[in-house]
Symmetry: D2
Subunit: 467 residues, 4 copies
């Protein structure tokens, strides 16, 4: 299971700012389930509430009441750096010489170790293990009295991926790194109310309208005087995370004016073109692969069916009975509809294969349900390289495609055939207007491979056997 990185949401100038952010975080919950937080401002003070768990667990009426004011930013988190603890929950709030500010960050700063070392050398004390805190320390070190200037001077030091929301008592800022790795879009609601969110589905839930995506390298500054757009960075090649299309984003979100769902339908169609197979039915690994499976069915003419049922109550499951239960982990989440599968030739479509463990269990469950043949189709290319730009990523060694041929993987998962979407196929489908990062598939990291990245990832063998 690939873990989402983070989702952020901001509302500027609305009498119920914190409540709208709360609802927006609801819609962004798929981007992070470890912690949630909101910081609001009434123009004078910042009010904070953060907690571990789901949005619905962290907030209640009384905690929302206390988040006073007309503007607010929020964050849901799955840790990419830093351990799971309340201290690391965002937004991070700090007092420094310029006053108070709050930051919500989605992404991963690739030169964080070097920056942290430098800042500690100058006497900075870190309270969290997140690299988001680095941004605040950089700002606090600036001598300028102009906040925007201090912010820009600080951002210039950063490498990697960052979509940021900054809240100060009198303004809100929203920005994306020059490469635009992570998504961020701006919307409006009623007169003078602006919203910013990782995905447009957060606007739908509060009945707001998507205006446009924030551009790579753009800083949007929301002030009582109006909205200002700044472009302080040198131009860079846009490298939007292609995995947002494949898996992360909600299907009902729009990216590049296209619904993610419709792109996934096309991924499925392209997959059917590249890896046709004679079969009786197409099923998806729900829910993330529903669209790709349907696309595969539409293109191939093989009927789409619901052959795997997913339980949505899984939550924490801590026990692993000693008594051997076959395919235990997968059983908690999925079950087969035997009457659909028995005696049939089944195409099962999934969005990606990480370690291969779950795929193997799913294939086995389908066979146990009586399938005559199981053809595994993956709506993305073989995932061979870890992500340094904000995705919780296994080490290289754990990525089965980094060290195994497709035939080896097929044998491992026990399928009768296995087909991955080609990189060319993927590139054909994703919107032309959006330059993408394909590093997880081709190893071409924008800006080069980070030099100071987390040791455990650095230690991975980087010469890979390909067959």
């Amino acid at each position: 299971m690939i873990k989402e990185s983070c989702g952020i949401m901001g509302v500027f100038n609305h009498p119920e700012a914190a409540k709208l952010v709360y609802l927006g975080l609801y819609a962004l919950q798929h981007r992070g389930q470890e912690s949630a937080g909101i910081v609001s401002t009434d123009g004078e003070h910042l009010y904070t509430h953060k907690g571990l768990g789901l949005v619905s667990d962290v907030f209640d009426e009384s905690s929302l009441e206390k988040l006073k004011g007309h503007s607010a930013i929020g964050h849901v988190r799955y840790s990419t750096t830093g351990s799971t603890s309340l201290e690391n929950a965002q937004p991070i709030v700090s007092k420094y010489k310029g006053g108070t500010l709050a930051i919500a960050h989605n992404g991963n700063i690739t030169n964080s170790s070097l920056l942290r070392q430098e800042l500690e050398g100058r006497g900075s004390i870190f309270q969290t293990t997140t690299d988001s805190e680095i941004v605040i320390h950089l700002i606090a070190q600036q001598s300028s009295n102009d906040f925007l200037e201090s912010l820009i001077t600080s951002l210039i030091r950063l490498k990697g991926a960052y979509s940021l929301l900054v809240l100060r008592p009198n303004r809100m800022l929203a920005l994306r790194d020059p490469s635009g790795f992570r998504p961020l879009c701006v919307g409006s609601k009623d007169k003078g109310t602006y919203l910013v969110a990782s995905e447009s589905c957060a606007f739908d839930i509060v009945d707001a309208q998507l205006l446009r995506e924030i551009k790579p390298g753009e800083i949007l500054e929301f002030t009582p005087d109006g909205v200002h757009s700044h472009h302080p960075f040198a131009d860079a090649i846009p490298t939007f995370c292609v995995f947002e299309f494949i898996y992360y984003a909600r299907p009902d979100s729009l990216v590049g004016a296209k619904s993610v769902h419709s792109i996934r339908i096309r991924l499925g169609k392209q997959l059917a073109i590249e890896h046709p197979v004679e079969a009786d039915l197409v099923i998806s690994v729900p829910d993330s692969s529903n669209a790709a499976a349907l696309g595969f069915a539409q293109q191939s003419g093989i009927p789409f069916e619901f052959g795997l049922i997913r339980s949505h109550y899984v939550g924490r499951t801590f026990i692993e009975p000693k008594q051997q239960i076959r395919d235990f982990g997968a059983r908690l989440k999925y079950n087969t509809v035997k009457s659909i599968i028995a005696g049939r030739r089944v195409v099962v479509v999934d969005d990606s294969i990480v370690r291969g463990t779950t795929s193997r269990k799913i294939v086995k469950m389908i066979r146990d349900a009586g399938a005559k043949e199981v053809h595994f189709r993956v709506s993305s290319p073989p995932w061979q390289y870890p992500c340094f730009f904000g995705i919780d990523t296994p080490t290289r060694e754990e990525l089965i495609a980094s060290s195994h041929s497709i035939e080896e993987i097929r044998k491992h998962i026990g399928a009768d055939s296995l087909g991955y979407l080609s990189l060319e196929g993927l590139k054909k489908v994703v919107p032309r207007t959006i330059g993408c990062c394909f590093a997880c598939f081709d190893g071409n990291y924008p800006g080069g491979r980070p030099q100071d990245f987390h040791k455990k990832i650095l230690e991975m063998p980087f010469s890979i056997k390909k067959t």
Copy 2:
């Protein structure tokens, strides 16, 4: 939203009995999310753990460790009688002159008020407001020293629906009322281990095999000497709850040797035959209507699409922003995929209409997404009569179909056309081998309308306008 009643699970003779019950309750979570409980026995004592909330919230490793022994029964609950409180959580454990026993109950006893009055008249004191407690008091009042005899003499007093699990230190009993309103099936795993569950999906999760359904009026007694089947009741006409097929049961469960999913596919096909329409795509209200929508698509030849996305993180949502947000409740749970819907003629399939409120919001969302036409199709007949047999049911007045014509309902929900499955169509689809209760559609309550049912339901007007 229709609320599930309850789910029960029992395991006899397995070294990890409580853990298997825990996993089974996981799979039955859709039948009740208010409280969960397990009682186990080591042949001497009963061990209990109950709590409010989901199975994953109520239990942790340490509470499971304390549930010692080789046999256990469990319960997930949505209240049909009694208010939501820990006291009402099941299984109910009691000490009486015959020793200790625990009971887990799915169903609704229709003469509970009379029985309660009678028992209180004889000096019984009730600790819960559940009618499940009545069974225990009846047993405690029996003079026989033979437990089975006491149980049967007690059960004979009951009217209505009850699928029961009873745990005593040296045995487990599983039984269904003579009409077999609620489901209950028996399975096995390894040598000498028996399992009982509301639905067969609970066997799949623990890698056990479904043996068969417990028959209406049958008592299965699991003892160290073996399993005994008793049939103490006079024969009754079987009246299995048809709503288990339409909505309650998980699609991957088997009822009458058919998967519920395949029956729903057929409901959708029959619906397409009865209410054809020219349209561009068929979408479902996920997830409960997925199968019916797919069946409709297959029969009609109109392409199936995922036009509504459901959020699975909803949980408790307590706030209703003052700021008007259109279709607020529905937005939390559903969002449209605009690119799929915009400019198209949409058939939306749902399993039932209760008050019409949610249907209205869904139609509106689909229109807002740009649909040219919205055709609403319901894979069950108009729901006009409340259930007295274990479903959490609105009062008559709240059931929109009890007082409005189909045309009025169509106008209310704002659809271009509205089609319900006919009762005849429904009867055609459900398995012949299983006699069903259709009272919610035709008002023919098996055994007659209960005389002492909850006052608020009794007070409903029972003369209904039909058009």
Copy 3:
């Protein structure tokens, strides 16, 4: 450490009834720290809040707000029967054929096992392990429609000690068993408001006036029409628990119109007369022995000093460091003031010796602080017999005085001399007007030794060596 049994408090006809009960329970907290509960009524419904822990932990503003109405009863508990669990917390509320009632009980019913057996034989089901629940079952079994009659018929079945408060929507009843083992007094505040409490200190905290003690065997019935006194029982010899004077009651409470403090002063004086000793100072084991120690000092002319300091933050202390710490348990609670003790001949006065363990540690601490001599004086006779009437009592074997001579005890605790108050001395001091139970000292149990008492106590050897 002797554990208190229970404290009860009731308020009839006051707009803030539950709050006054809450404050009264505060003042009665020394009588029970395991659980606390209040039930109130507005003339129609009963409202309940109970919890484990101290009064200040169990209640907060919101829980008090919910305890609506003009009358309320409350309870603090240290278990004499039944284990520590929320189920056993009082008041117990029940629905039975006559409606709802709540009961708060201080005392111990000595024929509870027989009664329970009888009731279970008739089909009653018990939800708690308290013997207070028996009273409710007995009432529920009565056929009379008159509540008072049912209550009296039930009470006649009881043996042992019970001070009871009963709350019904339209009345409150307060009563003591015919022997008057446990205290209960009645007070008033403003016009028409009546209060009942275990001790008069609960009236002081709410600024109410003590009217008088409820008489042994008296039932006071508070109704909207006025207060009625009933005396339905045959006369019995009053046997008030003498330990209330020695240890249980708060010194600022009045019993028999005398302050408990002044009686303890006199116990100390009598002790000094019976066991004079040449010494430099008298110290108490605070706080329960302060008065007796002061009385000893006053009579003997030896200066009173504070030589032992008691920590009031002890609460739960769960750890026992592996590393040997001398007199660990006592150190948590007491510390010596070395400059007071060093080089002096010390008289230490305690109210009683139970197992001798704590006394031994205290003597050792005093010696370690440099005392030249330690003379231990006890302001009650040797405690040899367990209590069956409401005190949490060790078994006979654990009472050191039941099997050891005074000289043996002196050696065990390591004192230079040991003197107990004589039974005659004790009888001289306690008020003549109040007949007392001295069974813990002389074994003369009023009504004879209970026949069906808890097995573990019955199994104690009852032939005792005396020297």
Copy 4:
């Protein structure tokens, strides 16, 4: 009620270091009840557990188990700066360029605002509102690689009161400011184990021995190589907080080799000499004034009695019944023993008068109990000036003695006579060997009145009317 500031405890080189600290904090609980925390080290990592509430609430077996290692420091807190929140709980743990360190602080830094401003100016970001965090930031800013040197350079910047414990993986440091405002002493236990605590009572509870007090301006460094004493500061006049003698310290603690209790006895005696009165009995406001009252009784020959009983279960009391209850606040905590007081002339001894509110209620309670005369005696001089050195202090305006003559105070509290100990009398009693700060009585703040102290205190009128 005067609030304690803080208590600190450290253990170096003991296999159960954290448990000993836990027990020591128990004994120091009177110095702070808002939060508690322990940090331990195993020579490599620091382990932290902190929480709001009493020591017994914050820690349990499992949290203590996690505090691994051979050395540990702990803290109980009542806030003098910073608000009550978990963030402000100590010890504070930080990572900086030199590694990790933890700090526990008792005292108040009087130039904290200036230092904070300076540090923020250099880019430091503060996470707490405590001034203890300043110390860490100063250390982080030092360029030296030698920790001791960095520490000393940092400490030189501080003004005011600080007794500090510093824990690093390989050493523990304990130090007092050059004036020695707040206490700190060192003890030992077994071979090679050293302990440091605010008061010696913390050694008694763990069976350790007091070695001596740490000297004003001394830094004790505990390392695997041994203990080193450093005296890096210029000599200053010692100004130990005289209120430790009067009220703060536990009576069983030793200061300057004298027990605090015996000093308080002498304060009472001196008070009796200065303000004799004809009366029948002397009572104390328990427990803090017990010793002074006893001393007064011994000197005057008037019998000592327990006339006020204190409840030790008070804890949080949140409700103030609308129904008028006279002297409500005091009643929760104190009650009178009427039989002792009625008809008598009573001397009541208290340690200090702050606002006069409680004194007034106590006098009224004593009168209501029937006292013929009430003579109030205070075992310290009139408290006129707020403390800047670590005591939670009311503003000047709230100190009744800052603006009222003694006669006015007497009238306000309703006593027949009022006598304060004279400053000369106080100076006579406190040990000669210990130079004291008397600023709360004479306004002579050591080092002058702080210039940048909290604004609300600065705003107090500093010209005071004396009569």
